[in-house]
Every structure is written in structure tokens, then in C-alpha cells.
């Protein structure tokens, strides 16, 4: 294991050695991430979990969840963070770069092609109407995702969390304020509130 391995202690403990396979090469990482990135609808995460945990057995399910949890609370696209952190965990910086470029470059090329097609044919009436209908559906899909994420907060009756959620929604969605100042104000407040509530519970 290279010395810059982020968490050398975790694979050694708790997980039977047979549960995971030896780390793949850099090229294998690139192609594995390219494949899961292009796999289809329903988000890359689903395919990433399947490939990493079930198919290649590079991580156990717990290790995957742990890596994903970290990437979820960091800013930026979660799956992009995951590719970098996961690749680096297995193969250092070269592994991180391989997974990162595998995840991004092939779909980015497709997207660029689609953007060029849209620039040329986007004004065709039939296409305009189809895309209008698809975007209505896409908004609905996002609505379902957000609803799913909201349920735990509502179920646990986390009043402070719901208030923070509403304030951010009003500031960004209704007042259309810029993201950076809103978050620079909201993040410290939310951390302070969470910290104080947690201390009250444990006291």
C-alpha cells in the first residue's frame, strides 16, 4: 500500500480479506468509471455502487457507504467527488485522476455533441415541443427526489432543520439571491444550531 493511502486501517479491520479484490490498475479504473458513467438513466450512483461493491468487489458495502457519505457532505457533484476519493484510496493520485477522467470525459464528449446539435436544430418546432414536455417530466423527477430526501427530516420533526430549509428556499428560490452570500450566512448558523441542539440532547 502506498504511504498516501487515505485510510489504510479500514480495509485491514472488520472486513474479511476475501470480501474485496486487490486494487485494479489505473487503466481498469478509467474504464470502470467510464462504463458506470455511461450506464444509463437513474443516476450514476446506482451503477457505481453495483460496479464497485458487487461486480468488482473493490470495496465492501460499508466501505462504499462510508466513502459516499464523505462525498455527500462535501460541496460539488457527489459522484465526481466519489470518483476522486475512491480512485485515490485505491491507487493514489493517479488512481483518483483515472476515475475522475473516466467518469467525466466520455459523457462530456457526448454532451458537447448534443450541445452542438441543439445549437443547430434547437429551433425546430417538433424538437422544441418534445423538449418542453421532457423538461416538465424532469422537474417532476427532481421533485420526487427532493421529497424522498425531506421525509427523514419531517419524520424526526426536526424543527430547526425545517426552518433552515425554508429560509434557504426563500432566499434562493423566491428572492433569487446569489448562492455564495446566502451560504456564507446559512452554513455557520446551521452548524451552530446543530451543535447547540446536539449538546442539549447529550447533556
Amino acid at each position: 500500500m502506498p504511504p498516501d493511502q487515505p485510510s489504510p486501517a479500514i480495509p485491514a479491520e472488520g472486513v474479511p480479506a476475501a470480501a474485496t479484490q486487490p486494487p485494479p490498475g489505473v487503466i481498469a479504473l478509467f474504464f470502470a468509471f467510464a462504463k458506470m458513467s455511461l450506464a444509463g438513466f437513474g443516476g450514476v450512483l446506482y451503477w457505481a455502487r453495483r460496479a464497485i461493491v458487487e461486480q468488482h468487489r473493490w470495496l465492501s458495502a460499508d466501505e462504499f457507504n462510508e466513502t459516499y457519505a464523505l462525498c455527500h457532505f462535501l460541496p460539488g457533484p457527489n459522484i465526481v467527488n466519489l470518483s476522486m476519493v475512491f480512485g485515490a484510496r485505491l491507487k493514489g493520485i493517479a488512481g483518483g485522476l483515472a476515475a475522475f477522467t473516466g467518469l467525466l470525459v466520455p459523457p462530456m464528449l457526448i454532451m458537447t455533441l448534443l450541445a452542438a446539435l441543439y445549437a443547430r436544430y434547437g429551433e425546430i418546432d417538433a424538437l422544441r415541443r418534445i423538449l418542453a414536455g421532457v423538461s416538465c417530466a424532469a422537474v417532476g423527477m427532481l421533485g420526487a427526489t427532493v421529497l424522498r430526501m425531506m421525509m427523514p427530516l419531517l419524520k424526526r420533526r426536526e424543527v430547526a432543520g425545517v426552518v433552515m430549509l425554508l429560509l434557504v428556499f426563500l432566499a434562493i428560490g423566491v428572492a433569487r439571491l446569489p448562492l455564495v452570500p446566502v451560504l456564507l450566512a446559512a452554513i455557520p448558523v446551521s452548524i451552530a444550531v446543530t451543535f447547540l441542539l446536539q449538546r442539549k440532547v447529550s447533556a
Binding site: G76, A137, V139
Partner: protein
């Protein structure tokens, strides 16, 4: 309309900063993308923005690649590449260093507290995304009803999103919504 600066640098700066503030991922940054692309720089219309969101959802790859489409509209292939890497590289580097830091002192309770504190913020941002996108995409009462129906169906069932997109495409093509 636009500033005199090279639009590629505007893209790099815009998405480079956004990258580090996209708490909750790409879908949480949609209102900010819309604000900058439609309201601040007038790079595109509301309808075009909604179209790009639809294309990004129809295509394979991470959701974040809507920035590739925005970048292309602004500055062609160079813009597409610049926007994508500006949105993805800073956060990936940040994630790499944080993961190494956390591996060293994993006893701290701060990661858990920060994580808990950020969850409501990211859901608030994504709720704002729904509002902004609905205002651009749902041009009629029927369209809004269809969006609501898709949300309900996707929430209650495990139906493949493909069918929702297909239904939307057909209803749009036939002029119902």
C-alpha cells in the same frame, strides 16, 4: 449585455466558485446557474435553460454535465470544456484533501455535526431548484399538473425514469403540455 472579458474566463470563474458552494451537488446549484446564465449574463432564455436541463437529464453521465451544455452555448467547445472542468476540478481536489485529513483523525465529532447541518441547506437549495425549473418549464396549468403527477408517481413507485421522459416527450410533441 456581456462584459468585455473573454467569456471562457467568465465561465471558469463562475463555475470554479460555484463548485465549492454547490452544497448538495449539481441539482442544488441549478438556481445559481439559472440566475447567472439567464438573469445576469443573458446567455440564454428561460426556455433554452429548461431545454438544457431536459437534455442533461436525458443523457448518460453525472447530472453536473448541464454545465457542459451551458458552456457550449456561451463559448462553443472551449466553453464546454472550461465549464465542465471548472465545476468539477476544485471540488474533487477539495474532496481529496478532506478525505486524507479525515482518515488521520477520525475520532472528531465535527464531520458528523457539519454533515447534519448541511443536509437541510442542500434540501432547501434543491427545493429552490424545483421552483426555478418549474417556472421555466411549466408554461401551462396542464404542464404543471403533469409535473406534479410525475413527482407523485416517481415518489410512490420505482418506475424507470425513462417512462416519465417518454410520456413528457409525447405530451409535449402532441401539444398537450
Amino acid at each position: 449585455m456581456n462584459t468585455n472579458a473573454n467569456p471562457v474566463w467568465t465561465l471558469v470563474l463562475t463555475f470554479g466558485v460555484m463548485s465549492l458552494f454547490a452544497v448538495g451537488g449539481a441539482n442544488a446549484a441549478i438556481p445559481e446557474m439559472h440566475r447567472i446564465a439567464v438573469e445576469v449574463h443573458h446567455w440564454m432564455t428561460d426556455k433554452q435553460f429548461a431545454d438544457l436541463y431536459a437534455i442533461s437529464q436525458l443523457s448518460p453521465g453525472p447530472n453536473v454535465l448541464i454545465v457542459t451544455l451551458i458552456g457550449y452555448v456561451v463559448a462553443g467547445v472551449a466553453g464546454a470544456l472550461a465549464a465542465t472542468f471548472a465545476m468539477c476540478v476544485p471540488t474533487a481536489v477539495f474532496a481529496y484533501y478532506v478525505s486524507r485529513l479525515l482518515a488521520r483523525k477520525s475520532r472528531s465529532r465535527w464531520p458528523a455535526i457539519i454533515q447534519r447541518a448541511l443536509v437541510p441547506l442542500s434540501i432547501g437549495l434543491m427545493s429552490a431548484s424545483i421552483l426555478v425549473l418549474a417556472q421555466t418549464a411549466d408554461r401551462s396549468l396542464l404542464a404543471a399538473l403533469f409535473t406534479g403527477a410525475v413527482a407523485a408517481a416517481a415518489f410512490a413507485t420505482r418506475l424507470n425514469p425513462f417512462w416519465m421522459f417518454l410520456a413528457g416527450g409525447i405530451l409535449g410533441f402532441t401539444g398537450v403540455i
